[in-house]
Amino acid sequence: MNVSLFVTCLSDAVYPRVGEAVARLCARYGIRLRFPDGQTCCGQPAFNSGYWDAARDAAKTIIDAFAESDFVIAPSGSCVGMIHHHYPALFQDDPVYLQKAESLIEKTYEFSQFFVNVLGVTDLGATFPHTVTYHPSCHASRLLGVKDEPLSLLSNVAGLRLVPLPYAEDCCGFGGTFSVKLPDISLAMAAEKAEHVLETEAEVLVGTDMGCLMNIGGRLMHEGKQVRVMHLAELLYEGVNSRR
């Protein structure tokens, strides 16, 4: 069984601990992840900005890297959403890669999707005695339809008190290159999201996408707030370790 990790470029370069948490959680179920290092980026920054040639080059590294995998897991609903929702359009004029893309789509899962829907595991045996609020990322929930999976994993964490985030479904304003091209609007959105997080008085903000968490976390840190920002996999891994 070849189960592979698509670590995503952001987690690879900035948040390697997220990829590590996914690999260590999988190992607990006897799944020894592989890491085909031909992977670079799913191509979304270029795709969303309209540079489809550049996006295709990047996307091909992903398609080729996972050609032999039976399952691909990524700690990002956005990158998986890119594969699922946009690769068909990206390769509409390239029948060879279109077919390869379709086979990648079939086997690629966002982290919480893989645990809940593929493995059928909702209780990882974690303990995390903290107040936590959850930001559902737009691409995970709207492009990929991942809505209940992260919540069902969180609801089985012992000691965790989940506080609902007001206007949780509102975008945090990251939007990849959007935050670079229109930083003022992006910041206004991030500031509002951060305010909602603070309203919950949670100790921890958890999510399934490091892009959004980098944005909200960057705002919270700028404001000198002590909210801890974690990927769901990190939280669960810390939670299973504390129980040992």
Partner: protein, 498 residues
């Protein structure tokens, strides 16, 4: 504030809006009310997804056969005694309108709400010809007095608060009016009543045009649409060429979707159906009815697989209320007639000057809330990306952006390039990094770090860490349970069968 007209770029217009705390509070307050109302109305109705799908199918079908339904509509409208005019663009529509107005020796015109007429700048054209044009929708009246354009498809004066309205009305009244809704609305009612009674021409928009009977259907909440279409002797109706639906049965679906999506209302307060001019025995209605069917860039979308569906829009404004970008900057930042996600798509598509308008498609984080809110399921978030691609293909993007994308393309092209880029990045950030983050506020960090902190690249990337981690995991590994193995194998089996 009417400074929005002078700013040339989306970014400049957005900056102006973001500095205007009155505007931001007003827009935030009203969009919150509207989207909560919509949610409640949809929940109360039940089966909302099925209604949306039905609405979508009606619109898809109509637009796919637009030539057929348009000619059916025109034939039926003519048979009912109406005059039909076709305008290829805004200029032609203005010319036709002025011709009719001159023939009627019109001195004054009253107008009910019409977004398509905003594309024509018809009020200015009338004024330039010595004809007074008065907006009679309360919101439109407010922004006409302010010399502005609508900042929302449904709520044109969404960016104004009560005291700003009181100021505007006080100037007209020549006396200080208090900022009380009842008094302000009462003033507008009295003032507009004079205008209705004196007007030579009534001008309306068109929410839906029913092909099977040649009827115009107007939705309104203030009753001004009914005044405009019954009191003056001549009526001119502006209609975007895609406003058609085949039948009255289809109207039922639209009348279910539109008010709920727009304002959370179960029903619009007034629904007027107009079939031809006044007939003998009719108590009211215009003696002459002219319908101007306007193309103005719409037919260019027909047959385009990526954009044809934008013609399905029923102008409810739900995508505006759902859009986080709109909620922060309001409508004027979009620069043209339509705002929010639908505006970010329509503006570059309907305007031929893409050098000026193409960038409006950037006004979205692509969060997909617009698609989720749309009662006819237009994939606006995808269309925005297609327009951006077209901008790139036409060389309309900034040199710095093109350079950035070249670097991205190179970096993401292979494992070696990717590794090298991360290494270079680490060298580059060394002087800036403090406690793992970058707080510099210049150059490439200016925008992000103006109110955020940027994390630095990790000391060791995941790919650099992998071989050690893999070793640790191997030493530490558990046997796979039969249950997990079975689940994985079952999944593979299912996939093979598909």
């Amino acid at each position: 504030m009417s400074g929005h007209h002078t700013a040339d770029t989306l970014e400049q217009r957005a900056k102006i809006a973001l500095r205007d705390q009155f505007l931001r509070n007003a827009v935030k307050f009203t969009t919150k009310k509207l989207r909560t109302g919509k949610q409640t109305a949809a929940d109360e109705l039940g089966n909302w997804e099925a209604w949306r799908e039905r609405g979508r199918q009606i619109r898809l079908h109509t637009i796919a056969h637009l030539d057929y339904y348009l000619s059916q509509f025109v034939a039926n409208l003519r048979a009912a005694g109406g005059y039909v005019h076709f305008a290829a663009d805004a200029r032609e529509a203005v010319d036709i309108t002025l011709r009719i107005a001159r023939a009627k020796q019109a001195k004054s015109v009253v107008k009910s709400k019409s977004m398509v007429s905003e594309e024509l700048h018809i009020n200015q054209a009338l004024e330039a010809n010595g004809i007074e044009a008065v907006e009679t929708d309360l919101g439109e009246y407010i922004i006409q007095l302010a010399g502005e354009t609508p900042s929302h498809i449904i709520i044109p004066a969404i960016h104004k608060n009560k005291s700003q309205v009181a100021q505007l009305f006080s100037q007209v009244a020549g006396t200080d009016l208090p900022a009380e809704t009842a008094i302000l609305a009462g003033f507008a009612r009295t003032k507009l009543r004079e205008k209705f009674l004196a007007a030579d021409i009534g001008m309306t928009g068109c929410n839906f045009a029913i092909a099977e009977s040649g009827s115009i259907v107007l939705f309104s909440n203030e009753g001004n649409g009914r005044m405009v279409s019954t009191v003056p002797k001549t009526q001119i109706t502006f209609m975007g060429m895609e406003r058609i639906i085949p039948s009255w049965e289809d109207l039922e679906v639209m009348a279910t979707l539109l008010p709920r999506s727009a304002t959370g209302q179960k029903l619009t307060v007034y629904m007027s159906a107009i079939t031809g001019p006044r007939r003998s025995g009719d108590g009211d209605g215009p003696e002459e009815l002219h319908v101007i069917i306007i193309d103005n860039g719409r037919s260019r979308q027909l047959g385009d697989p990526e954009f044809q569906e934008v013609l399905n829009c029923i102008r409810c404004g739900a995508c505006l209320n759902a859009c986080p970008v709109y909620r922060h900057v309001g409508g004027h930042a979009y620069g043209w007639v339509y705002s929010g996600p639908i505006g970010a798509v329509l503006t570059p598509l309907l305007n031929e000057d893409r050098t000026k308008w193409g960038e409006v498609a950037n006004a979205s984080s692509l969060c997909g809330a617009c698609y989720e809110a749309c009662p006819v399921k237009i994939p606006l978030h995808d269309m925005l990306v297609y327009i951006r691609r077209r901008n790139v293909e036409s060389g309309l993007t900034a040199p710095a952006e093109r350079l950035g994308m070249k670097v991205f393309r190179l970096a993401a092209s292979s494992r070696h390039a990717f590794r090298r880029t991360i290494k270079l990045g680490r060298i580059g950030q060394a002087a800036l990094l403090r406690n793992g983050v970058i707080r510099a506020k210049w150059g490439p960090f200016k925008g992000w770090n103006a109110g955020r902190v940027l994390p630095g690249l990790a000391g060791q990337s995941f790919r650099e860490r992998w071989s050690a981690l893999e070793q640790e995991l191997r030493d530490d590994s558990t046997e796979m349970s039969d249950e997990i193995r079975k689940r994985l194998q079952d999944q593979l089996e299912q996939r093979r069968k598909r």
